[in-house]
Every structure is written in C-alpha cells, then in structure tokens.
C-alpha cells in the first residue's frame, strides 16, 4: 500500500497528558479516510500534529505530500473580521504570492471559479460576517480548492451544517478523490462515514482500529473506543512505554 502519511509511535500531549497516545498507522494515498472517535479522543490534535501545529509531538510522522491544505474548525476563525468573501478565498493562493507578492490574473480567475464551484457566485464582495455558517463553510472549501493540495485535511467539515450544503460539499470532496488527492476528514456522523468513506481510523486517544470502514466501525470497536475515551486519569503517573524521539 502506498502511504500518504505514515505515523510511527506518535504521542501528542498537552501539559504532559497525552491527547494522542502511541499511534502507529499508515494513511493510504489517493483515498478518502475518515477519522472518527468520541469527543476528546484526540482527532483534532492528530490533524494539528500532522500539520506541525501541535505543541509537543513525540514519535515520527512521514509525509509524502508536496502541499497540504487544512480546513480548521470554524471556531478558530474570527468570523466578525471585516474581510470579503473574495479576499478570503484568494488567500488559498498564499503559497504562490506569500505575504508580500501580488496576486496574478490567473489567481483572480481561479478564485472566481472556485467561488462559483461551491455555489457562491455573486457573493464575492460580501463581508464574511454577513454569511451563515453553511455559506462560510463553502467559502473555506473554495479556499481549499485554490490551494491545489495533494493532501487535504478537514476538521469537522460538516458540524452544524444543513443537508443541502453537506451534499454540495461532499461533491467537492469526491471530485478531489477523483483527482487522486488524499482526503482525511474528522467526522462525527457514522452513517455518513459508512456511506461515503471507504477507509476509517477509529481513535480514542489510542488507536482502536484502522482500515476498511465496515470493519473499523464494528459495534464492538465503537464500544471499546467509548470505554477508552472515558478513562482519563487526572493523576496519571509517567507513561512506561519507552518513547523514541523523532529523527
């Protein structure tokens, strides 16, 4: 199997408490993989670690992707900030023009195209504080489109979003899959995962199982994940498993 991401004995901790504990797993290239697990299972933390944004990461993360695009949870964005839809989407080309360069005609054209592709044509000049949660998620997807990444990480892309928008954005994700991009999404709707995502990774701070979705999301695995996530020990001693520091 060709891995887009390989995690070797990865532990991520906040205040020494591991949020992700000794995980080794391969995420297949060009596939759609869902990360599922109860609240506090370390799903978002794992994505942050993949991006190099987590505070303390032990173990090794190998990434074959040239370019990574990341959809944060909406709570991490100041949605009252005075910026237009078009400018927000155009930021997807940051890799091209950076903090100081100018956007070229091709960037402007692609931004307009991406806004159309997510169904927001005509919204270009609207300030983002006038958008609904669903419309703003479309904006962020348009920005992802512009990033043209071979690995797309989505953190709860469908939280608090209506069925129509979920359907439209799911089409965008499927198009990425058809273009052989790797998609990794943190999701809570297990029916949706079973329907749309062939691969899954079940997390409860430790890895419960990873592989084909029907096997991973078995009743037995889900029960086990819930039991593991609830076993948080405020006064835990130091972990005994020897840790290999990243190379």
């Amino acid at each position: 199997m060709n891995a887009a991401l390989r995690l070797v004995d990865v532990t991520v901790s906040y205040d020494r408490h591991p949020a992700v504990h000794h995980i080794s797993v391969d995420i297949p290239a060009g596939e759609m993989t869902a990360i599922v697990g109860p609240n506090g299972a370390g799903k978002s933390t794992l994505l942050k670690a993949l991006l190099g944004l987590a505070p303390r990461v032990e173990g090794r993360i190998e990434c074959a992707a040239r370019r990574i695009a990341y959809l944060p949870q909406q709570a991490e964005i100041d949605r009252t900030f005075p910026i237009s839809v078009f400018d927000t989407v155009l930021l997807g080309r940051w890799g091209r023009f950076g903090g100081f360069g100018a956007a070229g005609p091709a960037d402007l054209h692609d931004a307009r195209h991406a806004i159309e592709a997510v169904g927001l044509a005509g919204f270009e000049r609207r300030p983002i504080d006038t958008l609904s949660v669903g419309q703003f998620q479309r904006v962020l997807f348009a920005r992802l489109l512009l990033q043209d990444a071979d690995l797309v990480l989505l953190d709860e892309p469908f939280a608090a979003i209506d069925a129509k928008t979920v359907g439209d954005l799911m089409e965008v994700i499927k198009r990425w899959h058809a273009e052989k991009r790797t998609v990794v999404a943190v999701l809570h709707d297990l029916d949706q995962v079973r329907r749309e995502f062939p691969n899954s990774l079940l997390l409860a701070r430790e890895l419960v199982d990873a592989g084909p979705t029907p096997r991973v999301l078995s009743a037995e695995n889900l029960l086990r994940a819930r039991a593991m996530a609830e076993a948080w020990d405020e006064h835990a001693g130091a972990c005994e498993v020897p840790v290999r520091l990243s190379a």
Partner: protein
C-alpha cells in the same frame, strides 16, 4: 470673527502651529494602529501598554531631565519589555495574556510614579501623565513625524500577514508563516506611536487619539481600509477642534482633545450606519431578500 476663532490662534502663535502639525502626524499613524488594536481585540491591552511606558520614560527623566529623546527611548524600551514579557509569560504558563498584561502594567505604573517622585516636581509628574501638546518643540515634531512615516510604511509592508494573523492565525501557521513575528512587529509600531503620543497627551491618554476615532469609525465602515480612512480625519479634526477649544476657553489641551474625540465616538455610536443605536432603533421595513 470666524478668522479669530478658527485661524487666528494658529496664525499668531508658533506653539499652536506646531501642536497642529504634531496632531496631524499623530492622527495619521495612530488611527491606523488603533484600527488594528480593535481588530486584534487589544484595546484594553493597548491602554495597559501605554501606561507601561511610564517607568522607562521616568528613568529617562531621572537620568536626562526633561529631555525628549531620553524619555522616548526609555518609554519605548519599557513598553516593548512589558509586551514581550507578558507575551512570554502567557505562552510559558498558559496564563491568559490579558491577565499577565494587567499585572505587568500595574507594576510599571507604580514603578514609574515612584521614580518620577525621586527627583521631579508635581508639575513634571503631571506633564508625563497628561502630556503637554502646547510644549511640542522641533525635536518632538521630528520624532512624531518620523514615527508616523515608519508606521505607515511598516503597516503597508506587513499588512497582509497581519490581517491574516488577526482573522485566521491557524491558516498562517499552516502556511509555515510565523504569525508571532508580525504580531510583535505590530506591537513595536504600536509602542512607537504611544511614545510619540505621550509627549502630547501623556501616558494616561496616549491612546485617546488612536482608539476613539478607530472605534467611532467601526460604526461607519466594514473594511480595514475604509475604517482607517474614516478614523484618520476624525482623529485630526478632534485634535484641531480640541486645540481651539482649549485655546479659547483656557482649558488643558490633552483632555479637551480626547473629549472631542469622545464626542465623535458618541456621535458615531448614535448615528453610525452599522451596529449603531440608530441602526438598532430604525423601524425601516425589512428587505425582500
């Protein structure tokens, strides 16, 4: 008559002209900084930072007397030290930055007042706390003008990373950009403006011409550039009107200028085109779509 009221004071007195020019420069640099302070939700932290200049300025005063370069340098160093220290403490201990800022600035303020009292008179202390825009000399004018130039050029240079750092810092980090760098560059420019403003308005009100017009502008505009474009003339008008009122009525200029800026704020709060009292109370029929 109108000439005597509006133009005469500036035509007849050099100190009024210098005060007016200093106000123009302060308004241009300061209101741009003020807009970003609001967008970064740092209005109160900015105020704390302005108070934190005091011990540095006081130390400059202790060593160099009422010498503007010494006091400005001291103020800048103290302000930056406070900003960097409270940022570092917040990151190191996961204490919230507003709490560490509060602790740091109270320490600074007390320290500053104590240092001034070692040598200065009550008049010196009043000048440092509340400023003396009518005593602006050519050195001060050059300092203020240089600060404004540096601020406008600097903000233009870091504009895009700074905007993204305000609105979606995670995106910037994912792009491999160190947002903290731009945060601190911005803080340095902010401290520089406070230093420039403190001769005119004092450490207690240095932020008056930065924040009040910027807050007022946020009731009229919804983009960064238009907020700034509205805040700048408001700041300058506040200063000009304040100077005239203080001249004719024999009132201290600093507080009057800040109070005029407050009037602009109140007016905008009541009449502004967005999120204002008028917008809340208007019974216009809702739109069709």
């Amino acid at each position: 008559m109108l000439y005597d009221a509006l133009i005469g004071p500036f035509a007849d007195f050099g100190f009024m002209r210098r005060a007016l020019v200093a106000s123009l420069a302060l308004s241009m640099g300061g209101s741009a900084i003020g807009v970003f302070l609001i967008l970064r939700r740092m209005t109160l932290m900015g105020d704390a930072l302005a108070h934190a200049l005091l011990p540095g300025a006081a130390l400059g005063f202790l060593l160099g007397g009422l010498s503007l370069p010494a006091m400005s340098l001291g103020g800048f160093v103290a302000g930056m030290a406070t900003a960097l220290a409270s940022g570092a403490i917040a990151r190191f201990t996961r204490m919230r930055e507003d709490a560490t800022f509060g602790a740091a600035y109270l320490t600074s303020l007390a320290l500053g007042v104590m240092i001034v009292s070692f040598r200065g008179s009550a008049v010196d202390l009043m000048n440092i706390l509340f400023g003396a825009i009518l005593a602006v000399d050519n050195t001060a004018l050059c300092l203020v003008a240089a600060t404004t130039t540096l601020t406008l050029v600097g903000l233009a240079a870091i504009y895009r990373p700074l905007v993204v750092e305000c609105f979606n810092p995670g995106f910037l980090a994912a792009m491999g950009v160190r947002g903290a760098l731009y945060h601190y560059l911005f803080l340095a420019l902010a401290v520089l403006n406070m230093v420039a403003a403190f001769q005119a308005l004092g450490t207690l009100m240095a932020l008056g011409l930065m924040l009040l017009p910027a807050v007022a502008a946020s009731f009229w505009a919804r983009e960064v550039w238009s907020m700034t474009a509205i805040a700048m003339p408001m700041a300058f008008l506040s200063a000009a009107i304040g100077l005239l009122v203080s001249f004719h009525a024999g009132l201290p200029s600093g507080p009057v200028i800040v109070l005029v800026a407050s009037l602009f704020f109140l007016g905008s709060l009541l009449l502004g085109s967005r999120a204002s009292v008028r917008a809340r109370l208007s019974h216009a029929t809702h739109l069709r779509g």
